[in-house]
Symmetry: none
Subunit: 211 residues, 4 copies
Amino acid sequence: MQSEPKPRWERRKDARPQELLAAALDLFVDRGYAATRLEDVARRAGVSKGTLYLYFENKEELFKAVVRENIVDVIGKAESDVAAAPEASCRELLRVMLLKWWSEVASTRAAGLAKLIMAEAGNFPEIARFYNDEVIERGNALVASILRRGAANGEFVALDPDIMTRVLTAPVIMLMLWSHSFFPCDTQGFDPEAFMDAFLGLVERGLRPPP
Amino acid sequence: MQSEPKPRWERRKDARPQELLAAALDLFVDRGYAATRLEDVARRAGVSKGTLYLYFENKEELFKAVVRENIVDVIGKAESDVAAAPEASCRELLRVMLLKWWSEVASTRAAGLAKLIMAEAGNFPEIARFYNDEVIERGNALVASILRRGAANGEFVALDPDIMTRVLTAPVIMLMLWSHSFFPCDTQGFDPEAFMDAFLGLVERGLRPPP
Amino acid sequence: MQSEPKPRWERRKDARPQELLAAALDLFVDRGYAATRLEDVARRAGVSKGTLYLYFENKEELFKAVVRENIVDVIGKAESDVAAAPEASCRELLRVMLLKWWSEVASTRAAGLAKLIMAEAGNFPEIARFYNDEVIERGNALVASILRRGAANGEFVALDPDIMTRVLTAPVIMLMLWSHSFFPCDTQGFDPEAFMDAFLGLVERGLRPPP
Amino acid sequence: MQSEPKPRWERRKDARPQELLAAALDLFVDRGYAATRLEDVARRAGVSKGTLYLYFENKEELFKAVVRENIVDVIGKAESDVAAAPEASCRELLRVMLLKWWSEVASTRAAGLAKLIMAEAGNFPEIARFYNDEVIERGNALVASILRRGAANGEFVALDPDIMTRVLTAPVIMLMLWSHSFFPCDTQGFDPEAFMDAFLGLVERGLRPPP
DNA sequence: TATGAATGAGTCTTCATTCAT
DNA sequence: TATGAATGAAGACTCATTCAT
C-alpha cells in the first residue's frame, strides 16, 4: 500500500542549477536577453517556471549566473594562475591565457553572450554594469598586468599596456561575434581556428622586443 | 496680448517620412528592433503614435524602410555605377565602392543596423529574409561581379570570387559592429579610418596579379 | 494662364449626400455598424474622409440618415397615404402597405439594416432609441391604427390590435433577416416572393370576419 | 479583530474553463463577437485578463470553444443517438432531435449565437468557416440522414431531403434569432413554446405519407 | 522543494474625429 | 466646399513575477 520511496538518484536536486544554467545559456545565446522567456528556460531544463525562481531570484540574476558560470569563472582561474606563477614567462602566460580563453569561452556556446551584450547592454544598465565590472574590467586588468610585468622584465617591448590590451582582445571578441552572427562569412571560407593560430603568431612576434 | 494658440499639430507631409525614418534609425540602432517602441519613434519625430501608421504599415515595414533608405539605396546606386561603367578599371571600381560603403553606410549611424540584424534576425524571420535578399545577396553579388570582371580582364588574380567576396566584406562588416559595440575598444585606441585605410591598401596589393 | 473654370456639372455637389448615403448603406449592411469604417464609406462615395463630415456630423448621424432615407421616409409616406384616405378600404390599405414595405424596404438592400439593428442595437443605445422611436413605434402605430379602423367599421374581426400588429409584422421582419443571413436557407429552396404571397393570402383570410 | 487577508486570487483550475466559457457566452450573445472585450469576459469570470489566456489561445479559440461547448456537443450527442438506434422510428427520432435542439440550444442563452453568426460571420471568415463546418453542415447532414432513412422505410413521404432539411431547420433558427432580437415581438404576445409545439405538429403531419 | 495558476503592466495596431490648408 | 494629416483612446495579446498548495 505504501508508495515506493523515490530512489534518491531519480531527482538530482543538486544538478538543477546546472541544468537551468545550461538551458538558459542556450536560449540567451539563441534569442537574446529580452526575447528569452523564463518559461522556456524552465521547460528546457525539465522543470516548472516556479522552480526556476527557487534557484535564481529573477531573470537578471539568472543571466548573471550564466555569465559567472561561463565567463567570470574562467577569468578567475586565469587570475589565480597568473598570481600563482610570479616568475613564469610572460610570453608563455599570455599565450596560454589567450588559448584558454579561446578553448573555454570563445570557441564554446558561451561566445554568443558577446553578441547579446553588444546588442542589449544598452537596454539593461544593470547587466551592462555587471558585465563591464566582472568581465571586461577584470579581463583587461589581467592582460594589462601581464603586459606590464613583461615590459618590466624585458620580455615585451614597452607599449602602452592599456592600448595593447584592447588590440589583443579585440580580435578575439570579434571572433566571438563572428561565430554567432548570421552572416554567411562565418559559415563559408572562414576558419576560426586558423584565425586564432594566425593571431597568436602575430602576438608572439609583435610583442617580442627587437634583439 | 493674446498668445498665439499653438496648433495641436503641424502639417508637414513631405518631411514626415524622413523625420520618422531618422527617428526610427536612431532608436533601432540604440535599442534594437524588439525593444524599440513605436510610440517612442513617433515622439522623437514629434508626432503621435497614430501618425506613424499613416506612413508605415507596421513596425516591420518601418524597419524595412529604414534599411532601404540607409543601405539598400546605397547598394542600388553602386549597382548603377558599376553597370554604367563597363570599361572602368575594376581596381578603381572596387576601391570606390568600398570607400562609398564606408562613407555612406559603415561610418554613419546606419552601421548600427548590422549589430541589430546580427542579434535579432533569428527572432524575426521575415526581417532576416528581407535583409539577406536586399542587402547581403545584392551586395555580395555586386562585389563578386567586379571580381569576376577583373579576373577576366587580367586586372585581378584569379581567385574564387565568392570566397573573396566574403574576405573583402567581412572586415567592413566587423567595423560596423565594432563601431556600435558597447566595448571600450571602439572608443579608445581604435581608429576606424586608419583601419579602413590599411584595409584598402591590403585589397589593392592583395588582388594585384604578380607582374 | 488661367485655369479652366470647372464645368458646373463636373462636381455634382447636390448628389454628394445621396452618394454617401448609398455607400454607407452598402457598408453598414455588409459589415455592421461598428465594423464599418467611415474612411471606407467616403472612399466608396469617391470623396475624402473629411468631406463626409461636412454632410454628417458623425457616424451615428450618418447611420440615422441612412435609416431615414431608406426606412423612415417609407413609413412617412405610408402615414400620409393612410391619413389622406380616411374612407378607403382598410383591407386594401393594409395590403398595399405591406406590399409597399416589401417592395421599397424588405426586398431591397435596406433589409440588411434589420440584421444590423438586431445584432448591434444593444451596443449603441442611442441608435436603439432612434430606431425604436422612428421605425418600430411609428410602424406599429400605423398598422395598429388601420386594424382599429377596420375593426370599427366591421372590415376586420375584433382582435387585440397591438398583438395583431406583432403577428403581421414579425414575418416580414424575419424575411428581412432571412434575406441577409449567411444561412443557406436563403439561397436554396427558399423564395421570398412566394413567401410574401402566401403571407398576404393568410392576412387576407385571417382577418376577414366570418360571413 | 484581524480580517482575513483576502488572497489576491484563488486557485480554481478545474472550474475555470467552465466559468470562462459561461462568461464568454453571456458577453458574446449580448454584445456580439467584435464588441466583446476579453478583459470583460475575464472580469465576469472573476479572473484577470492574463488568466483567460491560460485556458484559451486567443479570442477566436475562445469563441470556438463556446460554440463547441454549447452547440457542437449537442449535435455530437444527437449523431451518436441516431447512430445507436438504427431500427428506431424515424418520426420519433426527428421529434426527439428537434425537441432536444430546442431544449438544449434554442431555448437557452446559446440561441444568441445564431444572431452573432448571422451578423458577424462575414467579418470573420475563419469563424464563418468553423461554424459552417461544425454546426450547419453537421446539423443538416444529420437531419437529412434521418429523412432519407425515413423515406426509405416508408415512414416519410419521399421529398428532396436537402430541401426539406432547410424547411425543417429554418423555423427553429428563426426562433433562435427571434428570442434574442431587440424587437418587441419576442417580448410581447409571442410564446416560443407554443410556436415550437405548433411547428412540431406541422412536421408530424406534413411528413406523414397519405394513408 | 516543486508546481503552475494567477496577475497586470506594457506594446502594437485601429479608427472616429478634428482642423489647418 | 474639399482635403487628408494628425490625434489619442481603446483593445488583443505577452510574459516576468508571485504565491497557495
